[in-house]
């Protein structure tokens, strides 16, 4: 039987639908260890690097069970095709390789409707390759996007399909772990970028400063988007409260843990800010406020519909070891005790996200791939 092919969207559908298949990752062990496919349910996955198929064909083939569908991923498609052909020649009957390669998985965005209310719909765009979430708020013929990833064409297509145009993007902070799509959307669709000045003052592109307490709205009867400054993860970190109910928190509040304040090399100052934010703002939020985080650590944080959202009350309870700390010094000690190195590309991504440096698409792909490292604590 001939070698088939599939897309990253197909893979996501199989992973969330609990389909039975073997995921064969043929990238080298270093790349595999750095970043691998994850889903909400256990993935039957094996890593046999393609160079082993080149050098030891029979032994490598023997490591692939014959009684399962085999779905192959590699860095850029070529090697998965190469290995797929070998398996087909060895009599495997259901083999397919992923088009484009692992970067397609890294860039994949999967939309899910969070809320449909009078006058608006709110969507979560899950990015399983980064373990991150961006959001879309649609009202009438307009859409606002929060923390877009660099796969900006996805948002444009999504808006088009929903009969609207993107008018604004909101940045919760200057991201260090992924390349933002805001400036790309500004270039291609002339959107207005709303971003906190404390993080973006050196930015080389125009933006509207996100001022604490200000409200953005659609036309006349759309929902309100209120700006709430929550410094700590970065000095500019900002949350956006939609319709008084849904709080887009970026890297400030997570379902598991809290945003780490040590990525900027000023852990003592930023940790103080975060403690202040926690005690003055987060603990005073209505416990029924629905938190929409910028990241998740693991899929088990998702609810039964595979949505990443939880009430502030639940989050406080779940992270009591953090939210119960009532002393700044103890909080700082806690942060320090959990600190770990950050990926080396973060400094460069931060510069890219302010438009200070420009790099080509291939470099962007390499830099942007991999799961985020934004939480203060690990499991």
């Amino acid at each position: 039987m001939a070698l088939g092919s599939f897309t990253a969207d197909d893979l996501f559908e199989w992973l969330t639908g609990q389909n039975d298949f073997l995921l064969l990752d043929v990238r080298n062990d270093v790349e595999f260890d750095r970043f691998k496919v994850e889903g909400p349910y256990p993935v039957d996955m094996v890593n046999v690097p393609y160079m082993e198929f080149i050098e030891m064909e029979d032994e490598s083939v023997a490591r692939v069970p014959q009684d399962k569908k085999v779905r192959i991923v590699c860095a850029k498609e070529g090697s998965s095709k190469y290995v797929g052909e070998i398996l087909v020649n060895h009599g495997y009957t259901d083999v397919a390789h992923m088009k484009v390669g692992i970067k397609a998985w890294g860039n994949l965005l999967s939309p899910i409707l969070l809320a449909k209310r009078e006058g608006y719909q709110l969507y979560q765009f899950r990015r399983p390759g980064k373990a991150s979430c961006s959001y879309g708020l649609v009202s009438g013929k307009e859409m606002m996007v929060f923390d877009p990833a660099k796969n900006f064409k996805f948002y444009l297509d999504f808006a088009k399909k929903n009969g609207c145009t993107i008018t604004k993007t909101f940045e919760t902070h200057r991201q260090a772990d992924y390349i933002s799509g805001s400036n790309m959307l500004r270039h291609s669709a002339a959107v207005e970028i709303v971003a906190p000045e404390d993080d973006f003052k050196e930015a080389k592109f125009p933006y509207t400063s996100a001022r604490h307490g200000e409200i953005h709205r659609f036309g006349s009867d759309g929902p309100e988007v209120e700006i709430i400054h929550t410094p700590g993860h970065t000095p500019g970190s900002t949350c956006y409260l939609i319709d008084g109910k849904y709080l887009i928190t970026g890297d400030t509040v997570f379902i598991q843990s809290i945003g780490r304040p040590d990525l900027g090399g000023m852990v003592e100052e930023w940790s103080q800010m975060l403690f202040q934010t926690m005690t003055d703002i987060l603990l005073n939020l209505d416990p029924d406020t629905i938190i929409l985080p910028g990241h998740y650590m693991e899929w088990d944080e998702a609810d039964e519909n595979l949505i990443f959202a939880a009430t502030m009350g639940k989050i406080k309870e779940h992270n009591a070891e953090i939210y119960n700390i009532d002393d700044e010094k103890v909080f700082f000690d806690f942060i320090q005790a959990n600190m770990r190195p950050q990926p080396e590309e973060y400094a460069k991504i931060r510069e890219i996200n302010a438009g200070l440096v420009e790099i080509d698409e291939e470099q962007q792909e390499i830099m942007d791939i991999g799961k985020n490292e934004c939480a203060a604590t690990m499991r």
Binding site: M51, I54, I366
Partner: protein
């Protein structure tokens, strides 16, 4: 590193995408004697980690790696 590496064979693999650079290196190394060095020029950024991974798999020694613009130069000694 040492300029005095004596290269027995040079493979021009520029423009090739994976898996071809490793396929050609795998073939090329077999065409020299044990102890001799081949040089391979690639442009696929993936080869930066793939060629060393291939070296770990086969035991051949990646004696030097240099980069000049987008071209990557590997110097590989056949060990067995």
């Amino acid at each position: 590193m040492n300029q005095e590496i004596k290269v027995r064979k040079t493979l021009d693999l520029k423009g090739l995408a994976c898996p071809m650079p490793v396929v050609k290196i795998s073939k090329g190394i077999k065409e020299v004697e044990v102890g001799e060095v081949i040089e391979a020029h690639t442009t696929d950024p993936g080869s930066l980690t793939d060629v060393p991974a291939w070296g770990r798999t086969t035991g051949h020694d990646i004696v030097d790696t240099r980069q000049d613009g987008e071209v990557i130069y590997f110097f590989i000694r056949r060990t067995s």
